[in-house]
Amino acid sequence: MNIVSQSSSPAPTIIELEKVSRFFGSFQALNEVSLRVSAGEKMVICGPSGSGKSTLIRCVNQLEKHDAGRVTVNGVELGRNAKQLRAIRTDVGMVFQQFNLFPHLSVLENLMLGPMRTRKLTKPVAMELAMRYLHRVRIPEQADKYPSQLSGGQQQRVAIARSLCMEPKVMLFDEPTSALDPEMISEVLDVMVELADTGMTMMVVTHEMGFARQVADTMVFMDGGKIVETSSPEQFFTRPQSERGQLFLKQILQH
């Protein structure tokens, strides 16, 4: 599964952050962060809360505007151009901690909205696409239900399918299992592992270290708005280089 990043000819860079900073008032959430994600790479970002990992991932599709530095996605530097931003957002799918499904639309309508309005697909084509991805996340039978009628795990799988219906080049996951009851975490992680196997480029903010170990090509550890450590999962989990990384792992793997 790690063929792309380990092949001899380097895969093209799809996301690049150069010295990106982000302030909330006087608080600096990101402090000159630089990183590079190549096509097909799976990057897992971890770190204590408030370390800036959500802000980082949200800068990639500009839900959070960076105050300094450069964000380049698919060769396009992101600026204030709204039209260009919309075009980039169709290439970058996002899954949220709180699912953010549209409660007034059925599952199928949730999935069809983006394809029909943004990609201008016709209704039958959008419906076929939606059903295909609902099968992929294994809940085609819920197509006509409303989000409130589904369990948390099912809702998050719908949210993943909704993003996939845009047929993005990159998928961002912002703590996708943090709002779930424990027994529902694995059904969402299973879907994510399957997605990783298809070669999708993924950036995942998560505390699920088992998932990270299984899927990640690159581990990024953040603290205080900075990237403290970037390494392979083997190295990060067995001999983390930074003291803060060691401490974090000790706390998170204690139980």
């Binding site: 949220f96 953010n100 309005r117 909704r162 845009m166």
Partner: protein, 252 residues
Amino acid sequence: MGHIIRRQRLWILLASSVLLAGCASNLQWYVVSPATESGRANLLFLAGGLKYTLLLSCTAIVISVVVGLLVALPGLSKNPLWRGVNRVYVEVVRAVPILVLILWVYYGLPIVMGLAVSVFWAGVIALALSDSAFEAEIFRAGIQSIDRGQLEASDSLGLGYFDRMRYVVLPQAIRRVLPPLGNQLVYMLKMSSLVSVIGMEELTRRANELVTSQYRPLEIYTVLIIEYLLLILLVSAGVRWLERRLARRDER
């Protein structure tokens, strides 16, 4: 729930009929009695205003909802200039008493614009204008109450401003503002009585006219009150039906 409402409605009707019966000795109900021919004619004359009250209110409501929404949207902009437009409109229009606005539109607008406004359209414009300022605030509150995650999800799907409003924000916001919006509709229906001052032949004007020929103000105005009461109970029931219908699809 519906059971209680029905009981409430029954109670209101009972109370009003007791009121009418109890005072019968001092009152001359024959002017509006369905038992006599002249009474029937008077009642028909009074009810004849219903058409214009309804037509006036409905037209004004439709216009005010559209204008209210159009005024609410700039109030949510990040641009202070747009927000200023919203603020000025709401503050100015909201400050003018409806009666004054009706007089100003009917007598003033022809001078300003150089074109005569019919009584009907003067009433519609004044009511719609006045109401739109209140509705703009209701819509703004409703739209602001939508969770930020909904906007972020729309953004991440590449939806533009209008698609986001049309398909994600407004359907949820309108459901939430239905109770205060219903309130506003009832208020507007009542305020349509003020258009009688410029000669609109609606319910109140008809009652006034009948009073001048029959000299029985108490009886006739009591009938007028009952007319408005029935009309508004009907509107309330309609709004509640709509609320239930939308709620069935149900939120979190």
